[in-house]
Symmetry: C2
DNA sequence: CACACAATTATTGTATACGATTTCTGCATG
DNA sequence: CATGCAGAAATCGTATACAATAATTGTGTG
């Protein structure tokens, strides 16, 4: 991960910067608009964004460092694919570090920070009722990311922030939207943190992640290989 | 057909690949032959290795992803510098994940793997007696890296492997060689792991890392800013 | 002498050109 | 009809050229 993905309102027709393109692809993969094994052709992207292949190449290399794309020599860049086992390993690592973060944050969090997270949860519920699942996905991960950012150890929070996007690469996860909606697990976790009950918060977080992971194998191996980058690009949140 | 690059004195030499240059710089930084804030000029490196700036740029971008070099826009690449606080945070994260790895490995390790690690420890002691400190540094980190590789969760081991090189960026660490030599802490940790006493091994590992970290502030802020890339390159383990 | 500022130099950022490798296509052949 | 093998087309890898930006030097003025 290089830096926080944040979609900026694009209006300027000036030449897009490498960072912009990186962020755009990053978000597209996280939101599953670009599915695993999708080929990311350099000329295609270069022409789409109106820049040279050099820029595209840089963005793809950064994404490769994030393990979101796989660079095959002399063959090109593809959206990375995760096995079910790898997905489980990610959740295991996530649980471990998340627990440590929660323990620390429980002792340092301020009312303002709690309020900020509550606002995020409120937005989640709203997105859920509106059935805006891409937004919900984004906000759900955002909760964990913002929580991690409250940790005083940036190396731990960075680890989380590198791990979370990769979970989007596991080819499933639609399943988990409903539970999130009804149960408001993020709210429970935050409640415990807010009152300083670290271990209860940790337990709630572990149960939360367990639940997400348990939903994984349900409809694994779903989804076909790929769709053409062109078709997706017409839907991409970019210019033109 | 011998694809062995013949090392005759002539100038016919296979062009170094990007990966080679990356590895070379990576090791040079880890072994502290390239110190923090050293500027890594593109043309200088390109001419030295006999490749174009394109290749150098790729290597530098990868190193930037590893947080070993800092890329300043329009100014160039510099060996990254760590504050004392950041170094402590790295060790904190390291302790956390190392403990988890040890817990798992203690239940899965095989006699062959134990033997392999013991051989490494023997080499460490040998390097210590020979006072070959660069080699000792390399072997010491290698112990932790090989241990991490025994973990079934590659995401955890990768985290460790990304963390360790960064500790080289903290401007100190000569201090810790003596303790390592006399006390053989790696050996102790391995002994506990070999007999399956996970918690004792974890405790030993934590004490080990605590010791290293404690030695940090001793002579912090030592070492001046930089030395010229040229001067270092004459010492670099590469082609002349 | 110190300081500010313009011109020069050096270095990075981007685009383009060319070579190498892979993939696709079509035709011949069993 | 399937298969195998050219040859063509597309795509990636690297080098080079040029533009943009920062660093440096030199010069004039308070």
């Amino acid at each position: 991960m290089s830096d926080v993905p944040h979609r900026s309102g694009s209006k300027v027709r000036a030449k897009p910067t490498e960072d912009f393109i990186y962020t755009e692809l990053y978000n597209a993969i996280c939101e599953r608009q670009l599915l695993p094994d999708t080929k990311l052709g350099e000329v295609l992207l270069a022409e789409h964004y109106g820049v040279s292949r050099t820029i595209i190449r840089q963005a793809l290399m950064r994404l490769s460092g994030d393990r979101l794309v796989k660079l095959e020599p002399n063959r090109g860049a593809f959206v990375a694919r995760l096995t079910l086992e790898e997905a489980r390993q990610i959740y295991a690592a996530w649980r471990l570090v998340e627990a440590e973060i929660i323990r620390e944050v429980s002792t340092t969090i301020t009312p303002e920070q709690v309020a900020r997270l509550r606002a995020l949860i409120a937005a989640e519920r709203q997105a859920c009722e509106a059935e805006d699942y891409p937004l919900l996905t984004r906000l759900s991960t955002q909760f964990h990311i913002q929580l991690a950012d409250l940790c005083s150890n940036p190396f731990l929070s960075r680890f989380i922030k590198e791990l979370i996007p990769q979970t989007s690469l596991a080819y499933f996860y639609e399943v988990r939207k409903m539970p999130l909606c009804t149960k408001d697990e993020h709210g429970e976790i935050l409640d415990f943190i807010a009152v300083g009950d670290a271990e209860a918060a940790v337990a709630a977080a572990k149960a939360h992640l367990d639940g997400i992971e348990a939903a994984l194998d349900a409809r694994a191996a779903l989804e076909p290989k790929a769709s053409l980058a062109d078709k997706l690009k017409s839907r991409m949140p970019s210019m033109s």
